[in-house]
């Protein structure tokens, strides 16, 4: 009897103890005991050789492809700033004449394959200046009429002109590039205008979503009680007299300008040459570019240029990336040889 009592008591107390034990004993899981199965990569010469070789070869392959592609891209870059005396635009650059026109003659000796992109370029122009970048009113530009009458403070000092709100306000809009170009091909002494396509040169998302005109017809009415930016010669709703849908904030040139360049030397897309006879590109021959020279750049030592270029899948011409890939790829291959020597000399005993 006594024995039985002891046994039952033992059992009971064991159970109690079990409960306690579970309350204080750490969980024996792989996680809490830091015993999770783990992959322990070992960085040593023997192991990385194949990796280096593979990366090296792949890079060399990519490098060759990039280099070849880049070589295939043709670029024609012409400076028309007019700093030099002999430059056709020298006169325009140094006078304050409005709508000064200068003609730039140039020739192409072989076909510039199409589609040809026609850029204008500026150097030493800091569109990435911080306060310049802030100086716009996104709400206004998205067509909110409230902001037409009271533009955001960020636009200051291009916010009001004699207390009349400026639309579009701000420094970016105000400083919009306003040189215009007309391209002629001289065929047998006759100037033949090359049609320039001004559609779809801005980002699709800018044109369709980010920038919007107020839904007022005619557009002009929306701008009642506002003035055009100080530097502008014509108001926003008359930017493109040829196409009424290309006016206001969704004017393609305006959109291109509003997308600020990352670096001080930049180019921006002006037109594409995709039409009619020039679908295949600009054939060899003489060309004349009629420039309506408006934009002052000498005040900041800037340069203006036009660029004709065709593009590939990798964008414009850039040899750097291809060369970089080639160099790094070769370096990797070289390193793998070094590793091989190191491996042969210092291999850890158990690796064999």
């Amino acid at each position: 009897m006594v024995g039985k009592g002891v046994a039952s008591r033992l059992r009971r107390e064991t159970m109690v103890k079990d409960e306690q034990e579970s309350s204080n004993r750490p969980d024996n899981t792989a996680f809490t005991q830091q015993r999770l199965p783990a992959w322990q990569p070992m960085l040593s010469a023997g192991i990385v050789i194949p990796g280096f070789v593979l990366i090296g070869l792949a890079f060399i392959g990519i490098g060759v492809a990039l280099f070849v592609t880049s070589q295939g891209i043709q670029v024609l870059e012409i400076d028309y700033t007019g700093v030099e005396q002999k430059s056709p635009c020298f006169r325009c650059a140094n006078s304050n004449e409005k709508n000064c026109v200068c003609n730039l003659e140039f020739s192409i000796d072989r076909l510039l394959k199409g589609p040809v992109f026609f850029y204008y370029g500026l150097t030493n122009y800091f569109q990435n200046y911080r306060r310049y970048g802030v100086s716009k009113d996104d709400n206004q530009l998205s067509g909110d009429l409230d902001y037409f009458q009271s533009p955001s403070d960020t636009c200051s000092p291009y916010e009001y002109d004699n207390n009349v709100p400026i639309v579009p306000c701000g420094s970016i809009a105000n400083s919009m590039f306003n040189d215009t170009f007309k391209l002629y091909q001289t065929v047998n002494g006759v100037k033949k205008q090359v049609p320039l396509d001004g559609k779809g040169i801005a980002w699709w998302s800018d044109y369709n979503i980010k920038y919007r005109n107020p839904s007022v017809t005619p557009l002009k009415n929306a701008f009642n009680g506002t003035v055009k930016p100080i530097f502008w010669s014509k108001p926003a709703y008359e930017l493109d007299p040829t196409d009424s849908t290309n006016n206001g904030f969704i004017n393609q040139d305006f959109l291109v300008w509003m997308r600020r360049a990352a670096l001080p030397d930049f180019r921006k897309l002006y037109r594409r040459i995709t039409h009619e006879d020039y679908k295949e590109g600009l054939p060899a021959g003489n060309y004349s570019l009629e420039i309506s020279y408006n934009y002052p750049v000498l005040s900041f030592d800037g340069r203006k240029k036009v660029v004709f270029s065709n593009v590939s899948w990798m964008g414009g011409k850039n040899e750097f990336l291809g060369i970089a890939y080639l160099v790094i790829g070769s370096l990797c291959v070289f390193m793998s040889i070094v590793m091989l020597i190191v491996y042969a000399k210092f291999k850890f005993p158990e690796e064999d």
Binding site: V2, G3, V6, L10, E13, V16, K17, Q20, R25, T32, Q33, Q34, L36, P37, A38, Q40, P41, M42, L43, S44, A45, I55, F59, Y119, Y125, Q127, N128, Y129, R130, R131, Y132, G133, D138, S142, S171, N174, S175, I209, K210, R260, A262, L263, P264, F266, R267, P296, L298, S299, F300, G302, G316, L321, A324, I328, M335, M339, V342, K347, F348, E350
Partner: protein, 1372 residues
């Protein structure tokens, strides 16, 4: 008049009445004074404290009109009353029902506690105020404010506010939640019921804790928690004793006695609180749980002293006492337990201190970069010939001058590059440490099954210090040893009684735990075999298998929480010869003065052991984890089996029934060992003959609760010889003699133990001879110098030199590693006693230096002692201590052992735990005066230097150990010798300090820590180690047998010493490398990312433009790259735990400068610069001369940095678990998802970036990928190659270990052996005669040879060991 109200109460006892009358007259006088005299007079209180209090009391009752001035005055007075050194408290009862300002004790806080920090109304301002104490927040806010200044802002001002707001909000939320939890627990505590006496009702009424006020009478009943600090006035116990358990306060589970303030004589039979008319004068509240000074002044001006022994502390539990009544002395926040409630310990780790220096470097770097930016802007502006259209003038169309603009630009740059100062690093470190602590506390290897306790981390922010320890200072008793004291042998009147059978029993007990190294291995091995076989045979069929038995025994013993009472400690098999001696002495006519009887009486009486009955066991309603983990009496299977074996040995009759009964005895533990049944069978025995005859019913249920294990061991030993301690009350001790006779000694005084005297005494009146006898027990040197005429002088001539013989035995004991105690006696004449009593009373009632006075009185009485004998108590080494010490030393840690023991004992333990090795050169320093000490130091130092410089010793590790005693240590630590001593100690592999005091322990730690500038760790288990634990960089408490004081003071609490090995070698190493690498990485990460912005400044005219959207920048740090480093800091594992334990040398990588040092920091910063250059300039060159816009340009930069930063981390990660993969891939996925979503949603938001559709368009462009790939590869190539080459050409020990780790176990072990011997990790054995031996360098020759079986069976088995005089001053 209102003041007479107390009189109206009616039914007052005479005392109160007179008291009230006195008061009334006082009041009257005071009132008139108040009318005529100036009001100012209130403030010039006389110096006499008592008068002051009376005047004050009267004033309070006198004033009826309250002006604001009076209120202010009252507040001032309250302030003064609270801050006075002494407080006069009176009963509240006469004032019951009066308004508050009439209450005498109104200045003292009530018992309601409020631990909340905030109130709902002022939460926001208070919390903000609190938060702005943090430097990081101020930095953030400062930057945000800077952003609001238009000329310097870098981002949209509102946007810049968001991070700081989020941080403040989250912190506030956390604080509010914590505060609410505190509020809830406060409310629960404040509303706990308790009983307060009410004069109106004439009984104790149920109230709440918050209603208790100073001056109330509170009744507590059994198992109830004491609501406030109570001065005990009455208990249900006729002797006025109340037992309490203080486990809530200090974790000690043994019962403590508190007794009624003696001499108040108002307690019998029922206590009438209303009759209490004395004034309680007590000291200002303090947080010392073990001291309380107070006296009670009776109406007749008699002062009665009271101390901590009469104070029931708030939070204690009343046990074994039906009820008790106390007078509230301190309430609420003034109670000792509340004053002890400090927050968590805050220490700053070494790594963090270094980190702060590097943060300072970052600040310098930031300012340099900002300066470059400002200068660049200036130059850029000067270079503009005119005003270009992109320069935006201010509102007035006016442009700032270049110098002013560049001045502004400096601040803009600070905002822009702010992340360079890694504020988020501090948050991340905190998170990492939480994770590390989680893993440490959850390690099942650090879990102790016996006590069911985990490792505890008390300090939350020094985990990484564990990986850098260079010096360990360890206590011996309880830390290296079990602190389970076992009586081994004794010497009485110069005769040695070796207790052979007892030794054999202990040896058997040890047997199943074969891995444990037993120090005193004298037991014959073959016999052990047969013993255990016997036990096996005796186990009848149907006994549960071993495993379950073990479980059950463990289970059962945690239930019975009695300190120091496992069978191991309680059972002593008496020595036959000694038994005969005793029975001879008993029968002899001179029995009253027989030294043998005196010796055992002294063992039984001279202690503070509390006797409680098993039937009155403490009832535990709930076992908190804390209290359960320190239960001292947990047993293992071994004991159970041994128990059986033991019983079998003593009585040949065995039956199943008997067996189970004995098991039950173990189970109950409190039932001492014999049930009636077993007793019947013990016919033949080594037990005292009287044992069988004695009435067992009464004494069987005895349970001894001792404060120290030594005492318990001695009481149990006395019991084994028939001297049973039956009861102890404050006034008497009852002992049953072997003859069965009960003697009740009148206990006149107890001179408690203190570490200065190193002894304790009891003064009793012998019931038969009526002599006053003082029994003293203490350390041998403390007793020997107090000896008067030897006892033996009037005995036979041959025994004259008892003291010398005993000393010889003591030395032998010490050499065996036993703890020695001397027992002595003194007969005090009544006259001497009476004169002494006067002094004693004075001392007791003293408030100032009471301790000192009490000690003086004790010293006064303890003179001319007569030596009775000595005892040897064994304290066994804890499991795996030698292993642990060897491993720690291989890890490059210097181990010091600081002990209060004698040098002989200490040296012996030193060898047993392998602190000292046989081939070691042991330098023994011991000198009496400073001159010798100096010359010894110089000489030894010279010797050691020569030894080190000796070309023959170049390839061997110097195994020099130092043994130094307390006295010499004091001299060596004196300022002029300090440097030399430290220089010597630095060259020693281990140091053993003997006979050191707690204060010396801490000063040793401090000196080593400050002079050598090393990381120190102190480990200890007792109150005497607290100083040391607090002085060291890392303090570790062992939750052992000596209560929880060490644990409470420690940073980490372990249950066994052996856990230190894994804690340091594995967790310490991991925590350190993880955190160090994480911090380095964090610096790198911030610099690498911020530099992208910096390089861009060179292309935007230093105008502070960002090419990455501000939100994405915030997200980059907050989400995309925050989790990986934190995971890295918590989970990375450079080498497996097995390797770290197998090759302790790996620990050395963290010591000293470790992995996080000047070089690694700057290398990572340089790497960050390189990588940021690559990440910026490859995209720059690729996009040069294109029509790329700002934020399209920024997108690949951001992506490249993400990849670079994450892949950089993956080079650093040493082992990849599933968690690593999830977090790394998750971060990348999160980046793409969030960025895509953000660029799809944000149309006009967050000007000027307008990220709308930018990321989408980039992702559709193959160039984006090509640029990302090459930039990432180029950025990481150098680091990767460097790692690969280093690992191949010159692998670090850690890498080698990792290689080894990959092999299969057998070859690995082989490799480890070879590799370690190659690396010189294992000390090369060398002959100890390498050096010219001088007198200062002596090789140990006293290490006892392992004894053979025949030796062990011999009578004087260990006494023939060679004695070496350790005290001998070394000649120079």
């Amino acid at each position: 008049m209102q003041t007479h109200l107390p009189l109206q109460g009616g039914g007052l006892k005479e005392g109160v009445l007179s008291f009230a009358l006195i008061q009334a007259s006082h009041t009257h006088r005071r009132v008139t004074a108040g009318k005529n005299g100036p009001v100012v007079s209130v403030f010039d209180f006389p110096k006499d404290e008592k008068l002051v209090s009376k005047r004050k009391r009267n004033l309070k009752t006198a004033m009826t009109w309250r002006s604001p001035l009076a209120l202010v005055r009252d507040a001032l007075r309250g302030q003064r009353a609270r801050e006075k050194e002494l407080r006069n408290l009176v009963s509240n009862l006469p004032y019951e029902g009066l308004e508050k300002r009439k209450q005498p004790n109104r200045f003292f806080p009530s018992n309601a506690i409020k631990t909340t920090k905030y109130t709902p109304l002022f939460f926001i301002p208070m919390n903000l105020f609190e938060q702005f104490h943090r430097l990081a927040n101020i930095y953030f806010v400062g930057l945000a404010i800077l952003n609001f200044i238009p000329v310097v802002n870098a981002f949209q001002p509102e946007v810049a506010l968001i991070p700081i707001c989020v941080i403040l909000f989250l912190t506030a939320l956390k604080d509010a939640w914590e505060d609410f939890r505190r509020y809830q627990s406060d409310r629960k505590l404040n509303n706990t019921p308790c009983y307060i006496y009410s004069r109106k009702e004439k009984q104790f009424l149920e109230r709440r804790w918050k209603d208790v006020r100073v001056g109330d009478f509170v009744r507590v009943v059994c198992n109830e928690i004491v609501p406030a600090d109570l001065l005990l006035l009455h208990t249900a116990d006729p002797k006025g004793v109340c037992h309490i358990e203080t486990s809530n306060l200090d974790g000690e589970t043994n019962l403590k006695q508190r007794r009624v303030v003696s001499g108040l004589c108002i307690s019998i039979p029922d206590f009438e609180p209303e009759s209490f008319n004395s004034i309680v004068v007590c000291e200002k509240p303090n947080n010392n749980l073990n001291h309380f000074k107070c006296y009670v002044e009776k109406p007749d001006k008699e002062k009665v002293g009271a101390g901590i022994e009469s104070l029931l502390l708030r939070g204690c539990t009343v046990r074994n006492t039906d009820h008790a009544v106390g007078f509230v002395v301190y309430a609420g926040h003034e109670t000792k337990s509340m004053l002890n409630n400090g927050g968590p310990r805050y220490k700053r780790s070494k790594l963090e201190r270094k980190l702060n220096i590097d943060v300072f470097f970052c600040v310098i770097l930031l300012f340099t970069m900002c300066f470059i930016g400002a200068l660049g802007h200036f130059v850029w502006l000067l270079a503009r010939p005119g005003v270009p259209p992109y320069l935006v003038p201010d509102t007035n169309g006016h442009l700032d001058s270049p110098s002013l603009a560049s001045f502004y630009m400096f601040f803009t740059m600070i905002i822009l590059l702010q992340i360079l100062i890694p504020i988020s690093l501090y948050v991340s470190i905190e998170l990492v440490k939480i994770g590390q602590i989680f893993f440490i506390t959850n390690d099942s290897d650090l879990y102790d099954e016996e006590t069911d306790s985990r490792m505890q981390c008390k300090a939350l922010n020094i985990t990484e210090d564990l990986g850098q320890i260079e010096y360990i200072f360890s206590d011996k008793t309880g830390t290296l040893t079990e602190n389970k004291m076992v009586f081994r042998r004794c010497s009485i009147m110069g005769a040695e009684y070796p207790h052979k059978e007892n030794a054999i029993r202990l040896a058997v007990l040890d047997e199943p735990e074969s891995e444990e190294e037993v120090i005193f291995d004298q037991s014959p091995r073959p016999r052990q075999m047969s013993w255990s076989l016997d036990a096996e045979d005796a186990n009848p069929v149907g006994k549960p298998p071993r495993g379950s038995q073990r479980r059950s025994s463990v289970a059962v013993h945690t239930q019975t929480d009695v300190a120091f009472s496992s069978p191991l400690e309680t059972e002593v098999i008496p020595d036959k010869r000694l038994l005969q001696q005793i029975s001879r002495a008993e029968s002899c006519s001179s029995r009253k003065t027989d030294p043998y009887l005196d010796f055992f009486l002294a063992l039984a009486i001279c202690n503070t052991v509390v006797v409680s009955m098993a039937t009155a066991q403490r009832r535990r309603t709930s076992v908190s984890p804390r209290s359960s983990q320190i239960s001292g009496s947990v047993d293992t299977l071994s004991n159970l089996v041994k128990k059986a074996g033991n019983l079998l040995s003593s009585c040949q009759l065995t039956s199943k029934r008997n067996r189970s009964l004995s098991e039950e005895a173990v189970i109950q533990c409190v039932k001492m060992e014999k049930t009636v049944d077993t007793n019947r069978h013990q016919t033949c025995s080594l037990h005292p003959p009287s044992q069988g005859a004695r009435p067992s019913a009464a004494s069987d249920d005895l349970c001894y609760e001792a404060e120290s294990p030594d005492e318990a061991a001695l009481v149990h030993a006395a019991r084994a010889y028939g001297f049973t301690l039956l009861a102890r009350s404050p006034d008497s001790v009852t002992v049953r003699l072997p003859s069965g006779e009960d003697l009740e000694f009148e206990l006149l005084d107890t001179l408690t133990f203190d570490s200065n005297r190193k002894r304790m005494s009891v003064l009793v009146r012998h019931p038969i001879t009526r002599e006053l006898v003082l029994y003293t027990k203490g350390a041998d040197y403390a007793i020997m110098e107090l000896l008067g005429t030897p006892y033996a002088e009037h005995l036979r001539g041959g025994q004259k030199n008892i003291a010398a013989d005993t000393q010889y035995h003591l030395d032998c004991y010490a050499k065996d590693g036993l703890r020695t105690l001397c027992i002595s006696k003194k007969v005090v004449t009544d006259k001497v006693y009476e004169s002494w009593l006067v002094d004693r009373k004075k001392a007791l009632a003293a408030i100032d230096n009471r301790e000192e006075l009490l000690m003086n009185t004790a010293v006064q009485l303890e003179t001319n002692l007569t030596l009775l004998g000595a005892t040897g108590i064994e304290d066994r080494l804890q499991e795996s201590v030698p292993d642990t010490i060897v491993a720690l030393r291989e890890a490059g840690i210097h181990v010091w052992v600081l002990t209060g023991d004698k040098p002989e004992t200490a040296v012996n333990i030193g060898y047993a735990c392998r602190l000292l090795e046989e081939e070691d050169l042991v330098i023994n320093m011991s000198s009496k005066n400073k001159v010798t000490c100096t010359s010894i130091l110089d000489c030894t130092l010279e010797e050691v230097r020569r030894h080190m410089a000796d070309p023959r010793n170049v390839d061997t590790t110097p195994n020099i150990s130092l043994v130094i005693d307390g006295e010499t240590l004091t001299m060596a630590l004196s300022p002029d010798l300090q440097n030399r001593f430290v220089d010597l100690a630095k060259r020693c592999r281990s140091v053993l300090c003997c006979r050191v005091t707690p204060l010396q322990k801490s000063s040793v730690v401090k000196v080593v820590r400050e002079k050598l500038k090393v990381m120190t760790l102190a480990v200890g288990d007792g109150a005497n180690d607290v100083n040391m634990i607090q002085a060291a960089d890392v303090g570790i408490g062992i939750s052992g047998q000596e209560g929880m004081q060490a644990v409470m003071a420690s940073d980490f609490a372990l249950s066994r010493f052996k856990h230190l090995k894994k804690l340091l070698l594995v967790h310490g190493h991991w925590c350190y490398t993880r955190l160090a690498n994480m911090i380095i990485y964090f610096f790198y990460k911030n610099v690498a990312y911020v530099n992208l912005l910096f390089w861009y400044q060179f292309f935007c005219g230093f105008t502070g433009t960002t090419m990455i959207d501000y939100w994405l920048m915030i997200f980059f740090n907050l989400f995309f790259t925050s989790a990986p480093p934190i995971m890295f800091g918590i989970m990375d594992k450079d080498v497996s735990a097995e390797m770290l334990l197998g090759v302790p040398e790996l620990y050395r990588t963290g010591q000293g400068k470790g992995e996080y040092n000047f070089l690694t920091f700057w290398i990572s910063i340089l790497d960050a610069f390189y990588q940021s250059l690559v990440c910026f300039f490859i995209p720059y060159l690729a996009y040069q001369d294109s029509d790329i816009d700002i934020f399209t340009f920024g997108t690949p930069l951001n992506t490249i940095s993400l990849f670079t930063i994450l892949l950089h981390l993956s080079i650093e990660i040493k082992s990849w678990t599933i968690v690593h993969w999830i977090i790394m891939l998750g971060s990348v996925a999160l980046y793409f998802i969030v960025t895509l979503a953000y660029s799809a949603i944000c149309v006009t938001c967050n000007p000027p970036s307008n990220p709308y559709w930018i990321f989408q368009s980039q992702m559709a462009d193959p160039m984006f990928y090509l640029i990302c790939i090459i930039s990432t590869v180029v950025a990481l190539l150098p680091r990767y190659t460097f790692h690969v080459l280093r690992n191949s050409v010159a692998p670090s020990p850690l890498i080698q270990a990792k290689h080894l780790d990959r092999m299969d176990p057998t070859t690995r072990d082989q490799w480890i052996q070879e590799w370690r011997s190659f690396r010189g990790g294992r000390p090369v054995r060398r002959s100890k005669l390498d050096t010219p031996s001088s007198s200062t360098l002596e090789a140990p020759d006293y290490y006892p040879e392992p004894l053979s079986v025949s030796d062990a069976m011999g009578d004087d088995l260990t006494l023939n060991a060679v004695t070496v005089n350790f005290q001998r001053p070394v000649q120079t």
